[in-house]
Amino acid sequence: MSILSNILKKKQKKRQNDNFRQMQDPGKPDELPIHRDYKDNIARIKEEYGNSTDISYREFKFCGSRGMAVYIDGLASNNMISDFFIETVSEEVRDMVTDCFQQMFDFTAGLGNVETIINWEEIHDAILVGNTIFFLDGYSKAISAETKGWEKRAISEPSTQLSIQGPKDSFTETLRTNTALIRRRIKSPNLWIESMKLGSVTQTDIAIMYIKGIANEKIIGEVKERLNRINLDAVQGSGYLEQLFEDQTWTPFPTTHHSERPDVISSHLLEGRIALVVDGTPFVVTVPALFIQFFQAPDDYYARFDISTSIRLLRILAFFIALIGPAAYIAGTTFHQEMIPTTMAIAIAAQRENVPFPAFFEALIMEVTFEILREAGLRLPRAVGQAVSIVGALVIGQAAVQAGFVSPVMVIVVSITAIANFSTPVFTMAIAARLIRFIMMGLATILGFYGIMLGIMFMTIHLCSLRSFGVPYMMPIAPFNIRNQQDVFIRFPIWAMKNRPMFISKGNMARAGENQKPGPPKQDEDQSSQGES
């Protein structure tokens, strides 16, 4: 596999380097001064932005000299700018002002986050994030004031990672909202946020969040290094980011975790992981991500430990069913008929009596049909989507059985597999199982359960060889660590989860104080006897 990647890498490098230079470098000198004549500046902006219609200009007169405010309509808040002009600029003080620019600067301070700009480059940076630039005639500098105010989606319920007992808010497309949602849950000065921009053209904002003293410095360094290495024109959302900085490309398993739930992300942060918020995506990425983490649903922590443990075990079982369900059916009916109890073997044989396809093709047809239905259901408008996928599966299943193309057992197997697949809490892991399922089916066709066994063996070796930011992917299981088993197959009661996972977190390991085990009040007996008397 790595051979292919090598070839790709070599070819890409060359092409990329050529393209990249063209894109980034439009052939203009970097440092340009700002003209004293504001009209020249405006002309320049018009030229550079190609007379784009979303750029608004407002001319004004201030302390005798003329000036021009420039902002992008839609990014900057129109109301804010209008109010500013009505309240301040028009009610101009007639006092003799020595420094007009300084006066303007003081006025604009009311808008927030004001900066003086002397560099032409900075003008672009400011204007493109929604700031307003004020040019004053006669000054070779400008003022940038923060007037961001675009339309944003309100915080809504999560749409992909649902929970019964958990909070109902989810991230939005706005970076600041997202960081605020996390900050609101972790009210600690130790929650540090570092920002950077990625994508030479898109200039996407990215926030790196971690809790100082809990997160492992080495991993933070690694994350930053990998982010700095990214040199691409566009980083459109967290999906791009995940693919750009994961450890292994040639694997179906996700080595980064993402969630749209602030509660999940903040608990990850508290375990010492590092969160990456990307502007424009309602998903926040956390690293390092471990295999078992993809089976931990938010509800596991809100329900009592015995319940969540059994549900988690069920989920892992479902994952295996989703992996080898159809493969086991193929192996059982074409290789190991002796394994099936006699009456069941006869029943299956009777059902398959008139089916024209061999078991493998029967399974393949049904599986592919189901995958198509699911994909179509996903793309269809929400109102029809679910109905189509369910009805489609039922109708096609029913009709195919009645027409004698597939056996009813096959339909049962496919539906069990599909339902089992849905029970994996994180989509990226579920889709890995979907993909591997087809490989397993192939192996089962060649050599029955031996093939499946080898497939699972191969998968295990692969899983064990993966790392996520230096942490072995199968961490608390292999290498086995007895002290970190609190949240693996069995979720310990919350008071017993005393330590942070030591392979992720460094430093401050203790999560809970001593004697956290709840119990009845100590003077219980006295009280109850008193109550009775």
Partner: protein, 401 residues
């Protein structure tokens, strides 16, 4: 470069495995052999009948099951079982598949002569289950038994195998004997194998016709009957009814049974159903000769009392206990005597001696069956009646007053 090499060799290796599927067998290409019947052949050593299941007619799915006959029987002959099996393919469109075979029927004729020649075929084939039940067709051909239809169970095979198990559990006159048990009996010098006998009762020729199933009282039906005793791999004779129960009791396979005793001069007045019974066989040595000691512990309840009797009185119960013990003892002694007469150690007493005194065993081993015939066997029975159903005194007690 080396990686290319690696990849190409991997693909090269994988290709053949993708193109051929050696052991793959579709369910629809298999003929499930449910039972094998082995008779003596005319020209060749064996006549083998294969009872095949017809899946569509057994399973009651939506594909309209249950129209035709559930089984089909094919015959072929050969000097070995393998030969017969391969010859059968001339008549059968599907591959004979033995993994679900539950029953091997052997005719009395074969059992008396060539039984040993067919055992290895059953033992060696990895497909064949060694937990398959073995029975002897008594007074009829194995073919008849294999082709008989039954009316309670759709598959005749499950009738026979279930029946043996249920008699073992409820009556104790038959016990489940599979190929493995039979072989271990054959090999062991201190034990001889037994097999269940099976009869076709009624009009034998009707048994294989569908009309036989149309009436509530079948014209012909299958019945378990007697235990076959073997010696040196050949059928030596039969033990029946109470003797058979005695034998199975000694083998500690009786789970539950019924014992009738006399009371107040009325024969079979009280019936006791035992619910738990346990047999211990031990060996003592007297003057360098082994003495077998059989001890049976039995618990049960009164299932019938057809005479006036005061079952509330512990003394009466104690007396009944004694009577039951005597009856059980009689049956056991009879069974031992029957086996001793045939000079066949079906109880595995020899193995007990072997374990108790390996050195002595080496001397006795050679003509153990002779020794067995004159073996001293002590029987001790402890029987307890624990409860007497939901009535205390039977209605007889008040009626006769």
């Amino acid at each position: 470069m080396k990686r290319y090499l690696l990849l190409s060799i991997c693909v090269l290796f994988l290709l053949p495995s993708l193109t051929a599927c050696w052991n793959q067998k579709e369910l629809t290409d298999l003929a499930f052999v449910m039972a094998i019947g082995i008779d003596k052949g005319k020209n060749q050593k064996f006549n083998v009948s294969w009872q095949l299941v017809n899946p569509g007619n057994v399973s009651s799915g939506q594909t309209g099951g249950g129209q035709g006959l559930p089984i089909a029987v094919y015959k072929s002959s050969g000097d070995t079982i393998t030969e017969a099996a391969r010859r059968a393919t001339k008549k059968i469109s599907r591959r004979l598949y033995y993994a679900h075979t539950n029953l091997v029927v052997i005719s009395e004729g074969v059992a008396k002569t060539d039984l040993l020649d067919l055992i290895d075929a059953l033992d060696r084939d990895p497909e064949f289950r060694t937990t398959t039940e073995m029975v002897i067709a008594r007074g009829t051909s194995a073919e008849n038994l294999v082709s008989a239809l039954t009316n309670l169970d759709k598959l005749p095979v499950s009738k026979i195998t279930k029946e043996i198990k249920s008699t073992q559990n409820m009556l104790g006159e038959n016990m489940s004997v599979n190929v493995d048990d039979f072989i271990s009996g054959l090999i062991s010098s201190g034990k001889e194998p037994i097999l269940n006998g099976y009869l076709v009762m009624g009009k034998k020729e009707e048994a294989q016709k569908a009309e036989n199933l149309q009436s509530t009282q079948s014209d012909a039906y299958l019945e378990a009957n007697g235990l076959a005793i073997f010696k040196n791999g050949k059928l030596k004779g039969w033990i029946e009814n109470n003797n058979a129960r005695g034998a199975i009791w000694i083998l500690n396979k009786v789970k539950s049974t019924d014992i009738n005793v006399e009371w107040n001069g009325k024969k079979d007045a009280i019936s006791m159903a035992s619910i738990r019974t346990k047999t211990k066989v031990s060996v003592n040595f007297k003057n360098g000769k082994p003495v077998i000691h059989i001890r049976i512990e039995d618990e049960g309840w009164i299932s019938e009392a057809n005479t006036a009797i005061d079952l509330t009185n512990p003394k009466v119960i104690e007396k009944l206990d004694k009577l039951v013990e005597k009856e059980i003892k009689r049956q056991i002694v009879n069974a031992v005597n029957a086996a001793q007469k045939k000079k066949s150690d079906i109880f595995g007493f020899g193995e007990r001696v072997h374990r108790a005194d390996p050195k002595l065993w080496k001397k006795l081993k050679k003509n153990w069956n002779e020794q067995f015939a004159s073996l001293e066997v002590n029987v001790e029975v402890d029987s307890y009646i624990r409860r007497e159903g939901i009535r205390t005194k039977p209605f007889w007690s008040t009626m006769n007053k």
